[in-house]
Each structure stands twice: as C-alpha cells, then as structure tokens.
C-alpha cells in the first residue's frame, strides 16, 4: 500500500508536482482508450491521479499498475497529455511490484550497461518454465543466437558531465 508520505516518491520520480494533477478534469477519456480495458479489467487511470492529488492510499496489486502496457494511448487522448504510464511505473516501483523479469533486466544493466538477453532468460528460467512459455519455443527459434556480453565502459553520467538535467525542460 502506498501511504500519503510515499506519494512524494512518486512525484519525485515522475517530475510532476502534486498541483500538476489539479488540471485533470475527470473526463475519463484516458479510461475510454486504456489498453488495460481491452482486457476487461475496468480500470480508470484518472482515479490513480486523483488518489495522488488528494493524498489517498493506493492499494497493493492495483490492476492498472500490474497490467499497464505503457502504450501512451491515455497520454495521446488526454487534453493535458499527462504521461500516465510514467506515473503508473513510478507507483509500481514504490509498491515494489516489479517482476523478476524486470529486476533481471535492471541487474543486467548494472553489470554490463546493456541488456544481455541470455542473462535475463537464465535469471527467469523457472518462471518461463512454470509459466508455460516452452510451447512458444518453436516460434522463437528465429530470435535465438549466441553472442558474448559487451561491457559498457560508461553508463551513468560522470561528475564532469553532470549538471544540466534535460528532463525538467523535457516535460510537456
């Protein structure tokens, strides 16, 4: 569950301020185009923004947080172009809802600076086995191929290059 004080983390992550969500007019256009509703899950992205705006708790295992595909259909349709999937993603991390797959992805980045797919597959092999993915293997043969990982020398900004952060201006 995300309590009110944890909302600050979501705002920090998304670079939105609480008052930025005051523009939401509750038109629910976002809900009408949301891909998660094609899964018949009856979600409403606006409700999540409202909870953040008024400081209400967000329950664990929220279906929008679990199933959001980052399709940006909501953003494209919203009169304010609110980047809802980025808010959802920030909530997901705050709730600790990342899957083993997502963690393996980031771990690979920490080690090599790139996603090394054989590593991600190895880290999630049990889930793939249990999840019934084996039946897709014949179709996935074309994706296989072996290469050694490349280690990137510089991943995070060096002190010298730190300073200007383009993300703030990048917000639209």
């Amino acid at each position: 569950m995300i309590k009110e004080k944890d909302h600050e983390i979501v705002f920090k992550y998304t670079c939105y301020r609480r008052e930025d969500f005051s523009v939401c007019v509750g038109c629910k256009i976002c809900a009408s185009v949301c891909s998660v509703n094609d899964l018949a899950l009856n979600v409403n992205p606006q409700e999540l923004l409202l909870k953040l705006f008024v400081g209400e708790k967000i329950e664990d295992d929220h279906p929008l947080v679990r199933y959001c595909t980052s399709c940006y259909r909501c953003t494209a349709a919203c009169p304010w172009q609110i980047r809802i999937p980025e808010v959802v993603r920030a909530v997901k991390e705050s709730l600790g809802m990342e899957s083993r797959f997502e963690k393996a992805f980031k771990k690979s980045l920490d080690i090599w600076g790139r996603v090394y797919e054989p590593f991600v597959v190895a880290m999630t092999a049990l889930d793939l086995l249990r999840g019934g993915y084996i039946k897709y293997m014949p179709k996935w043969m074309g994706y296989a191929g072996f290469h050694l990982p490349h280690k990137v020398k510089r991943l995070k900004p060096t002190n010298a290059s730190k300073g200007s952060n383009p993300s703030e201006e990048g917000r639209s």
Partner: protein, 227 residues
C-alpha cells in the same frame, strides 16, 4: 549519400538481430553509411519509474555521440522514444529508419520484385506514434512504401493499437488478448518495425507471416532469403 550515427540498442544485438541486419543492408543499398555510437549503453527501455534516472541513462548515449554525429538512426521504438526524451533541446536529430523512406530515397530503390496481389497489414504499435512530439511525422509511411511497390494494405484503425508486447514475460494472457484483438481485425502479412511487436505478433499469429518492413524492402530489391 549521407553519414548517420547509429544506435542499435540492446535487442538489436540479440533477439532483433534481423532488424539490425535489415537496417544496415537497407542503408547500404540507399548509399548511406552508419557510424555506431562508440560504447553505447542501454536506453533503459520502459523499465525505470524514475524519469531522471531514465533520462540520464539514455542521455549518456548522446554525450557519447557528441562531436561524432548529429543525425542518429535509432530503429527500436523504445530507444527512439527514450533518446528523444533525453534531448528536449533537439540538439540531435533522432530518426527512425522509417524516416529515411522519403520519396527521394524510395525512387532510388532498384525494384526487382513487386508486391502486386499481396495483402499487408502495416502495424506501427505504440511508441512510433505516441506520445505526441516524439512520434514519426509521416504516420502513413509504411502504407506509402508498401503501396509504392504494388502491395495492398488494410487495418488503418488497428495500426497504432497496443500488442501488449511489454507484458509478454509478465502476464502473457494480456499480450495474447491484445495481440489477437489486432490480428482478428486485420488480414495479410503483418509488417512491423518494433522488436516487441514482432515477438508478440509472431507468438500469437496463426497462419500469418510477420515481417520487418526492412526485410520486405530487401525482398523488393531482389535480395534472396530476405523474407
């Protein structure tokens, strides 16, 4: 004849190797050269909730490109979005290879085969089309290209729907449902440009081909084994 910077991104060195090879071969045929950004790192894909962290990871690639190139070809739509997000000043021209398919370049293609009588569903998915400001300018570029070589296209209203590709390893039923929704309302060969879409469509399409547009163009140019 142009020299572009090139950012392949992680999946193009692995599961989407085909797209990487297609882009490289296509550019060569069009007379363009690609200079890979040295020591490029992952763009962060859709895996970071912290926007500043994502932008700093992506932006590191632009620092590595500084002084080398201003125009950077970025095939993967997720990388394309992230690199654009990391460059709000537009100091670089981040381009999808799709943006190379202008009439001038297309007219240079030496056509050896045509696509007459064949039906295609050009499928863009999400990140080439959204969010606004990041999307490709010509939203019919795949249709224009396929039609130029005689192919029939369909599926206009499904072309920017979501395949659910990024849920494939989390909740595969969701990907299956979203992909089959799109497949059910379209017909013919599915032509994609995104590694996620390729995998989702390939996994859930029955009896339909799923190809990258690059491979289709190489086929038109007479390359063997391109499809």
């Amino acid at each position: 004849m142009m020299e572009y910077g090139y950012y392949p991104g992680c999946s193009l060195t692995g599961s989407a190797k085909r797209l990487d090879q297609g882009v490289r071969r296509l550019c060569k045929k069009l007379g363009h050269s690609l200079a890979e950004i040295p020591d490029w790192n992952c763009c962060g894909a859709l895996e970071y909730g912290d926007r500043n962290e994502l932008v700093s990871i992506s932006g590191e690639n632009l620092k590595k490109a500084q002084g080398i190139c201003r125009e950077i070809i970025v095939p993967c739509p997720a990388c394309y979005k992230n690199l654009k997000d990391a460059d709000p000043e537009r100091s670089f021209n981040i381009m999808s290879p799709l943006e190379l398919l202008n009439p001038e370049n297309l007219s240079q293609i030496e056509q050896k085969r045509d696509l007459k009588g064949q039906v295609f569903f050009p499928y863009y998915g999400c990140l080439l089309m959204r969010p606004e400001g990041n999307s490709i300018k010509n939203r019919n570029i795949m249709e224009d290209t396929i039609s130029a070589f005689g192919g029939d296209v369909n599926g206009e209203n499904m072309k920017d729907r979501c395949c659910g590709g990024n849920q494939l390893f989390l909740n595969k039923w969701a990907t299956e449902r979203l992909s089959t929704l799109i497949l059910g309302k379209t017909k013919g060969t599915v032509v994609v440009f995104c590694p996620f879409c390729h995998m989702a469509m390939k996994t859930f399409a029955t009896g339909r081909k799923v190809v990258y547009l690059t491979d289709l163009l190489l086929y038109v140019m007479g390359e063997s084994n391109s499809l």
